[in-house]
Amino acid sequence: MFLSSLIIAPLITCVIILFCRGLKQVRIISLAGAIVQMILAFIFLIQYWKERSSGNTSAMLFESDHTWFAALNIHYHIGIDGISLAMILLTAFVVIAGVLVSWTMEKLSKEFFFLLLFLSVGAYGFFISLDLFTLFFFLEVAVIPKFLLIGIWGSGKKEYSAMKLALMLMGGSALVFVGLAGLYFNTANGNGAHTFDLLQIAQMHIPANVQKIFFPFAFVGFGIFTALFPFHTWVPDGHSSAPTAASMFLAGISMKLGGYGCLRVATFLMPDAAHAYAPVIILLATIAIIYGAFATMMQTDLKYINAYSSVSHCGFVLLGIGMLTRTSINGAVLQMVSHGLMTALFFAAIGMIYSRTHTRLVAQLGGLLKVTPFISTVFVIAGLCSLGLPGLSGFVAEMTVFMGSWQNPDKLYRLATILACASIVVTAVYILRAAGKTVMGPLSNAYDKLTDATWNEKIAAGLLIVAIVIIGVAPFLLYDLVKPGTELIMNKILILK
């Protein structure tokens, strides 16, 4: 299988966009590109199932390996397993929805769509890379467009937010690079040849004291991307200033880069250190979960509400990783996918509301269910998914994390689990407050002429809802996909235990 097509397809789309004129051409090309990505993702899914069911048990499928820079032994090495495939599917869904909600982006449309698709190049490249250097390369590719998207098309104090986001993420990348370089220079197996190859490093045993030095760099670096407390403050400002599609990308894809990196690079390659630092990770994750949830309660802007709730929800990802049991790591991956879809849906709904009412302040909204039933329903569904309602993906993910966390018999860890569970009540409080004020209640006169969603918004929301419901109703589909991948990681962790 030609896995590089996942990178090449959006790149070609980007190039074609450069030769387009006007919004109409650009958006058609972007949509076509997004659809191609989606089709490719599903082709890989089908091929993946075929390979697995025909008994292929190798860790990574569709591998290909080319030397990129021989002097430093950097390779272009790609391949996917269930976890990366789940992330690729997530990206494909979010990209297509993001393109659809930006359908009427008049301002500098060519540049806007170019950056959106360019961001997806970085995301796909990151998820399929098996070489730490190319992984880092694509991580950086995914950072730059965000800065421009927020700085140019954003709202509110956009320059500040864009700068803050870019600086903090760059800081995260710098830490990641230290971690990766640390790994690289400790991979000498006698003959002095260092390697960046993820699978080869996984076969080696990096000395525990070295791991303990470089694990924090890699984990915190990736953690900044996924809103690790206390480095989460770019999340609220960045998300709320970004244009709708960029918020969706940011929360739906970009924060997952961090979670994936924490799992795939930090935890997988440095299991000893992961054990050693587990209490710290769990402490920070628990704080993020509880404190994020309470901070959300006081927010008045819908985007801030969702952004802070993302901090809380991403805490579940880190909690799952920190607990280091099979189930909890599965839960962390499920939570990444679920949160990506849900939060993208949430931002899409907020964007639709904002584009009609020109306000995101909860206090100024009310009774939208009467005039915009579709958008309001989308909003409520996103909210319900966020508060973990069965039948939607959030429930499955959270319960898996809780169940997995409980399997860790340490008493303090269980206390952390109980606290994390308690956050679902707080989540219910803020979600219902937001929904109760926004879509329910009396309708203000100013809004009684609003129009409901247009076809592109309906498709965008519909796609995300379908994905959320499928995961919620048939979680075994995603679970079976992810399991072999987490198994690989867990085997390494448990052997060393």
């Binding site: 989460h232 309470f294 009774g367 039948g391 219910a428 075994f476 679970y479």
Partner: protein
């Protein structure tokens, strides 16, 4: 018989929900109600058939009703042995529950066809009702405790949606939020309880869980009893937490505050969800795990008993003082569910000792009929008067003859007057309480008296009290056929349901028991109930000032009861003052000013430092040359003197 046909019972309402939810507004705006009703009729017929089959043909083996797992699919496997399965469990209580749920739901559907006619979101209403029916059926048929939790949350959701059906009314929004959040808080207990029990029992399957935890030699039982937290074993913790979940859903003190407010929903919804089915889910949950409670943790049963008794008493007292007829009924529901909990609490496992269990289930069964009848009757009255307040009513017996008769039957049933349904079930509970604990028996008896007092207070205030000519609002008749049929059917059920020889079918251990009614024992409770009726007839039959004087007699106590003992205010204090002001506000402040402040400080410090040193970049060639030269000198000095 192949029981997998049972799957159709919940799936039909689910199909209706999906159909009406997706396309209702466009294509089924008026026909949605009929579609939902027909689908539910099919469900009800199947469930009656299956239940008949189970109880009378092949359910019984050697005089004991067996548990059948009709279907079981692994839904989500966490780790070997611990998985969420979706299945269908057939045993006496689940069979009883599916009949109750489908039957009451059907009645409510039919009633709603008339009651909700002309509503803006008519089809959406039926979609939500179908969702509720599906979830409730899924709940009662669950084989797996996590499956039960899933449907438990879904009934909570449908309750939320239906209470908030009139979404443009701020009070309805507030009530729906309150209902969801309070039950969600209780569900947290349930969830943690599941985690504890499931982890230590090494299964989430209910039957296996019961086996593992009632066998006192099993390693799982030893594991969970030796593990402890704060000196109490995890088994006790787990079961108590599960009970908290049940108490939240069943509106037990002190988690009952959502139920009276939930009356903001349409009245048929109150009849279905907040009277007959969803609120008894807590009782059902305890009954489902009853062997574990009774055999392994009797101390938790004592908690349940006390909570049930306190709830029954407090709710009855508050009900005497409320003036909104739906709120009276809501508190009455809470009181009756308190009865059921109390009955479970005094019960033991097996045979005659399990009388409380039988009584509880029996009361659940009969209560569903007469309480939904009361609510539907109240709905008919509200539909007629357009008000919930007692003072707007009175003298309606001539204007609404059918409603009057059926309401009277329901009142007699709940008051426990023979031969109405409530008499038989209440007798069993009282007898069980009498055998177990005299004090609790006293409370239960007093509550029974109060019950008949406030029910007849309601009855007289609506239908007597004022001369019938005063209400001239009768611009339309009593209601359409679709509102009358359910009243009649339920009235018949309220008359006859008590004659079912319940102990023959449902007992704590499944073994058939032939209990007989003890006539001599019944004299006292019946006399107390009659006393309550007479008192309310004395006070409320004619319009007079006796009730006011009676209220003045109790003074502050009356006022406290009228204000629901200020429990709502206490909650408000805790949530608004403590949670919001002391936790959430500081958290948001800390985040904005300290955590983010630190990040900004790093940025501004960097900025300031560079601001202060940027003057060095003057653009003047000569100063650069001086720096350069100075540097050369310094390095030369370094190399000459310090570099050896």
């Amino acid at each position: 018989m192949n029981y997998s046909i049972i799957a159709l019972i919940p799936l039909l309402p689910l199909a209706t929900f999906i159909l009406l939810g997706l396309f209702g507004r466009k294509y089924f705006q008026t026909s949605g109600g009929i579609i939902a009703t027909v689908a539910l009729l099919a469900s009800a017929i199947i469930s009656l058939y299956v239940t008949y089959h189970y109880f009378f043909i092949d359910g019984k083996v050697n005089g004991t009703y067996r548990h059948i797992t009709a279907l079981n699919y692994t839904w989500l496997e966490f780790s070997p042995g611990i998985s969420i399965d979706m299945g269908i469990l057939i045993d006496p209580i689940s069979m009883m529950m599916i009949v109750v749920v489908t039957f009451i739901s059907l009645m409510v559907h039919i009633f709603s066809l008339g009651y909700m006619k002309g509503e803006d979101r008519f089809s959406t209403y039926f979609a939500f009702l179908s969702l509720f029916t599906f979830s409730m059926l899924g709940l009662v048929l669950s084989t797996n405790i996590f499956q039960l939790y899933i449907f438990w949350e879904l009934v909570g959701l449908s309750s939320f949606l239906l209470i908030g059906y009139y979404f443009y009314k701020p009070s309805a929004v507030a009530a729906s939020k309150k209902a969801f959040i309070v039950t969600r808080f209780a569900d947290l207990g349930f969830l943690i309880g599941i985690l504890m029990l499931g982890f230590h029992a090494q299964t989430l399957d209910i039957s296996t869980l019961i086996q593992n935890l009632t066998n006192h030699q099993s390693p799982q039982f030893i594991g969970i009893t030796t593990a402890s937290f704060l000196g109490v074993s995890l088994l006790t913790w787990g079961l108590s937490l599960v009970f908290i979940g049940g108490a939240g859903k069943s509106a037990m003190f002190p988690l009952h505050i959502w139920l009276p407010d939930a009356m903001e929903g349409p009245t048929p919804v109150s009849a279905l969800i907040h009277a007959a089915t969803m609120v008894v889910a807590g009782v059902y949950l305890i009954a489902r795990l009853f062997p574990v409670y009774a055999l392994s943790a009797p101390q938790v049963l004592e908690i349940i008993m006390s909570v049930g008794a306190v709830s029954a008493l407090i709710a009855a007292i508050i009900a005497c003082t409320q003036t909104d007829i739906k709120r009276v009924l809501a508190y009455s529901t809470m009181s009756q569910i308190g009865y059921m909990m109390l009955a479970l609490g005094v019960s033991k496992y097996g045979g005659e000792d399990g009388l409380g269990y039988i009584g509880s289930m029996f009361h659940l069964f009969t209560h569903a009929f007469f309480k939904s009848l009361l609510f539907l009757g109240a709905g008919a009255v509200i539909h007629f008067i357009h008000s919930n307040e007692m003072k707007d009513m009175g003298g309606l017996r001539k204007l609404m003859p059918l409603t009057h008769i059926t309401f009277l039957i329901a009142c007699l049933a709940i008051a426990g007057i023979p031969p109405f349904a409530g008499f038989f079930s209440k007798e069993e509970i009282l007898l069980a309480a009498f055998r177990a604990n005299k004090f609790i028996y006293g409370i239960a008896l007093f509550t029974a008296g109060l019950t008949s007092f406030y029910m007849f207070r309601l009855y007289f205030s609506i239908f007597w009290n004022k001369p019938s000519t005063e209400n001239k609002t009768g611009h339309h008749g009593e209601g359409t056929w679709s509102m009358k049929i359910p009243l009649v059917v339920l009235a018949v059920c309220s008359l006859l349901a008590g004659l079912v020889p319940f102990a023959n079918y449902i007992t704590s251990d499944g073994a058939v028991l032939n209990a007989t009614n003890n006539i001599m024992f019944s004299i006292v409770p019946v006399a107390v109930s009659l006393g309550g009726i007479l008192l309310s007839a004395y006070l409320y039959k004619k319009e007079n000032d006796k009730p006011v004087r009676a209220a003045a007699l109790f003074g502050t106590f009356y006022k406290a009861a009228h204000k629901k003992f200020y429990i709502d205010e206490m909650y408000l204090f805790v949530t608004q003052r403590i949670l919001f002001n002391l936790i959430a506000r500081p958290a948001a402040w800390v985040d904005k000013n300290i955590v983010d402040g630190f990040m900004n400080l790093t940025a501004t410090t960097t900025g300031k430092v560079s601001e202060s040193i940027k003057a060095m970049q003057s653009g003047r060639l000569q100063s650069y040359a001086i720096y350069f030269f100075g540097g050369v000198i310094a390095m030369a000095a370094l190399f000459i003197y310090w570099w050896k």
